[in-house]
Subunit: 304 residues, 2 copies
């Protein structure tokens, strides 16, 4: 009998699911047996997203029962309890027992964790983190979040909140973040904040600028974009260097859209992180390898 | 036959050793069977300090062979190899195989680690950290250093360098530290740096002021001392809050002389740390309980 693993990703605006044969995981280039992606429509709720995901799973499995299910969720999760705490994107998720709901729907054991922890696990097991016993994964995108592998296993903290590098303070005199503090890494380095800073400085409508545009303008030498992008890269670099001093991970893996901001961005992040860390604290900073499917691969790793 | 544990502490300016019966450790108020302390004289070398410590151990053991030896060293240690990397206080320590030397001298298994890791372990096993599976210990003294207990066991990092909270940057526009960076926690919050800042601001000889005096003057309301001590407490608080966001430890234990700086210092450290951490990241900050013997108790815990 073929052992099937179902991987699910609740990504905020999109829902992804895939099925893989457990036996395929031993191969260096394991491939999905099936893969589906749907957008979470405007007006979606926790209930409608869950129903859609269960349908996608049933369609992929075609009547077979999975041996394990792994779920990545884009928001805070109580991993031990298998409960989603809330979503910042979709209403109705407060304290949803997602593990229990899927275990009931598919009659299989389920593990669920937040997307940053899952992506860390995925990169460590299948991507840029292979072979590193101690690893920090950071996504730099609409937000800045992270996950840890320490001593060869995921580390989640006493209440599953570990990895919140986005809200570490790297400049107490910096600009104010929505979290109420000044100079958080996320305030300096995330896409929407950089876009807004550039828009305001150039007198453009806030909606007209994105993090991707900031990177493109910076590449063309536009001064405001260069300054904001470099400030963000340095802020992120201090945050990573601080994390390296605190935990001495061997490798730092960076994922998310902002990592496509070009060589100058990477150079500044790396230089600042190394300068912030003590000379004896050595690490590599490398790009993530799994791309959009990182949460699904991580969800597979979560079941192991 | 009585099982004896030998605990040793190479503390920079002083050498301490103690012996305890393994069976006594089960009691809530386990006491040393014997305890010795000697000063490391001016002109001491690694070799002379090692010889003195071996003599102290032999004197305490009175001809008996220890079942285990635990050693705390005030400087960077390669725990896996049992090798001291160097000392910032005493010459000749570079790459000293301390584990091997003591194993040979006493014919017993030896473990050696740096004082911050050992103190973290000691407070977790015998002191203020009991019952906390995830713990950060920080000493605030002539320097600022730390150690981790994560998921119920010591975490040392990929090269034994984890815990360097003193050299995390909390204000990139702050004063310059000896490490070359600006606004490290140690630059803002350690005794000698605060003493120097107060001395220079008040036009006093640098040798005339100590961290303890700064705390005393601040308690009396002297403005410069108040400002420098509060800046230090806030800098430390940001560092602790950042560490809490990154690792979500349940408890933070503070040791070292500066923790005797009074209620206002504690209040500022706690308030700043909580304000820096996300609302969901909850932790207590409590004083260490083991005092001067913390490294010896930690060395005992190291042998378990």
């Amino acid at each position: 009998m073929v052992e099937l693993i179902l991987a699910c990703d609740f990504g905020g605006t999109k829902l992804s699911a895939a099925v893989i044969e457990a036996a395929a995981l031993a191969a260096p280039d394991a491939a999905w047996r099936g893969h589906l992606r749907r957008f979470s429509p405007p007006g979606a709720t926790a209930e409608s997203d869950i129903n859609t995901m269960v349908e996608m799973g049933r369609e992929l499995l075609g009547g077979e029962r999975p041996s394990h299910i792994g779920i990545s969720f884009g928001g805070p999760v109580d991993y031990q309890a298998g409960v989603v705490r809330l979503s910042h994107h979709v209403p109705g998720w407060e304290m949803t027992p997602l593990q229990q709901l899927f275990a009931h729907a598919f009659q299989a054991p389920v593990r669920v964790d937040n997307d940053a922890n899952v992506a860390a696990l995925g990169e460590w097991r299948f991507g840029a983190g292979r072979g590193a016993a101690d690893l920090l994964y950071v996504t730099v995108s609409t937000g800045v979040g992270g996950g840890w592998i320490l001593d060869g296993r995921p580390y989640r903290g006493s209440a599953g909140m570990a990895g919140e590098i986005g809200h570490t303070v790297v400049d107490p005199n910096g600009p104010v973040c929505l979290c109420g503090k000044r100079g958080c890494v996320e305030r300096l380095a995330s896409g929407p904040y950089m876009a807004r800073d550039v828009a305001l400085a150039r007198g453009l409508p806030v909606e007209a600028v994105t993090g991707k545009l900031v990177a493109e303008w910076a590449a063309e030498g536009e001064e405001t974009a260069v300054a904001i992008l470099e400030r963000g890269a340095k802020g992120l670099g201090i945050g990573l260097g601080n994390a390296a001093n605190l935990l001495n991970p061997r490798r730092i893996v960076l994922g998310g859209g902002l990592t496509k901001s070009g060589n100058r961005w990477w150079q500044l992040v790396r230089e600042t992180a190394q300068a912030t860390a003590l000379p004896e604290v050595k690490f590599d900073i490398v790009p993530a390898q799994l791309g959009d499917d990182a949460p699904l691969w991580g969800a597979v790793a979560l079941t192991e």
